[in-house]
Amino acid sequence: MDKQIRIFDPTITPKEQALRYAPRPASLQGKKVGLVENTKYNSDTLLLKIGKILQDEYGVQGMLMRRKRSSGVPAHEEIIRDILAECDVVIAGVGD
């Protein structure tokens, strides 16, 4: 039977983005680590524990914790500015 109806694709392909990872330091010795607290309960406790492990076992020299406005939004401008100015590496994430 001949094809009789033309129908159309409702989807959109996202714009391609070239993402690249920031260069990784060869060692964390003497580095300062930024911790982005996402506001979920106990996220600060978890991040501080991670920070302590990095200090005790990997030689990290300092930590800077900054709190987002909400777990549902990206880190705001001041956080990014502070971490860029003061930190060598940063730990951020969100989860339940």
Binding site: M1, D2, K3, Q4, I5, R6, I7, F8, D9, P10, T11, I12, P14, K15, Q17, Y41, N42, R69, S70, S71, G72, V73, P74, D96
Partner: protein
């Protein structure tokens, strides 16, 4: 009138039944059959909104998605919209693309919200958008298909797929459609769009990242305070409780008259609900909604459910009969997503 052929990729099928199955196979439906979008029906949708096919309606930053008029129109056809609904769909998509709504959070969150849509202005009556009986139930084409179109655009155009970029733990039935109008003809109060700076004769849609509606009953009170005491008591422990999202309350017929006859304004309603929905920190800790041991001062330290009285959207809608109203908790917190009102522009 747009005369260009659709730019979207086309497929050929033998008949409507095959087309419907084709959309299922592609994963392009919400689980219900869709209306197959043809060149003529897509064009009618674009013409009704006087839209160019490539025109951008919204840009979703986190997803790097530009929602074009043509893709919105294709999904609106699939949802079963009449062409004259298209301006409402467009305004709703503009609204969820507004940074204040913060699309990615409520769309992707395990918290599982839907896009609640309130249509205000004369267009609601013209399109027969239900504001009365069975308000959140089925039976009205405009309510059913406008909300469905927005969800299909979220799914197909913006990639909000369950288990992928929609990680809702539970979701709720409003994710099929969640569109109502306000009963402006009988309400004793200014409609929501007028509260937000529009003129009564303008048309507007308000979107709000929302959980499911919760019904409360009060058939005993003949005072505003009596009815609202029941509503506040239902609201106090609801939704995410500690996140301080925005809320909507839907005041239906008999309650609307009782509260209106007492001379209470929407501002009075919001202030009363704000004042009577605080929780003690001690209670929030005892019920595992906040962490930590209960301290003596927690017994008398109170946390409001919402940040300000204006974070409660008061809507007059629902059947004339019955002693029920509803509250709708917002998703997450106001710091992540806020309701947005956009004008519905008609050619």
């Amino acid at each position: 009138m747009s005369s260009a052929n659709p730019q979207a990729h086309a497929y050929e099928v033998s008949d409507t039944a095959e087309a419907i199955e084709f959309y299922y196979e592609k994963g392009w439906t919400d689980g219900l059959p869709v209306v197959p979008p043809t060149e003529a029906s897509i064009r009618a949708m674009l013409d009704a909104g006087r839209l160019e096919p490539g025109q951008e309606i919204a840009f979703i930053e986190n997803r790097q998605i530009s929602v074009t008029a043509e893709k919105a129109a294709i999904n609106a056809v699939m949802a079963g919209c009449k062409p004259e609904y298209m301006p409402v769909v467009v305004a709703a998509i503009e609204a969820i693309g507004d940074p204040q709504y913060g699309y990615h959070g409520p769309a992707a969150s395990t918290g599982g919200s839907a896009v609640f849509m309130l249509v205000n202005g004369p267009i609601a009556r013209e399109l027969d958008i239900n504001c009365g009986d069975n308000l959140f139930g089925p039976g009205w084409r405009a309510n059913a298909t406008i909300g469905r179109a927005v969800r299909l655009i979220m799914r197909n155009a913006i990639g909000t797929l369950p288990g992928k970029l929609d990680r809702s733990t539970l979701g709720h039935p409003g994710k099929y459609t969640y569109c109502i109008a306000e009963n402006e003809a009988e309400s004793p109060w200014p409609p929501v769009h007028v509260e937000r700076g529009f003129r009564p004769e303008q048309n507007a849609v308000t979107v709000f990242a929302a959980l499911a509606p919760h019904q409360i009953g009060n058939q005993l009170s003949n005072t505003a305070m009596g009815v609202l005491t029941t509503l506040a008591d239902g609201m106090r422990i609801s939704g995410s409780v500690t996140g301080q999202p925005q809320y909507a309350v839907v005041i239906a017929g008999e309650h609307m008259r009782v509260i209106g006859d007492d001379g209470w304004s929407k501002a009075d309603i919001k202030q009363f609900l704000f004042d009577h929905t605080h929780n003690s920190i001690a209670h929030l800790k005892r019920t595992n909604r906040m962490p930590g041991a209960v301290l003596p001062e927690d017994e008398t330290t109170m946390r409001p459910l919402v940040q300000t009285p204006e974070d409660i959207i008061a809507i007059a809608a629902g059947s004339k009969a019955g002693v029920f109203s509803a509250f709708i908790p917002g998703w997450g917190g106001k710091n992540a997503s806020q309701s947005v009102t956009k004008e519905i522009r008609r050619p």
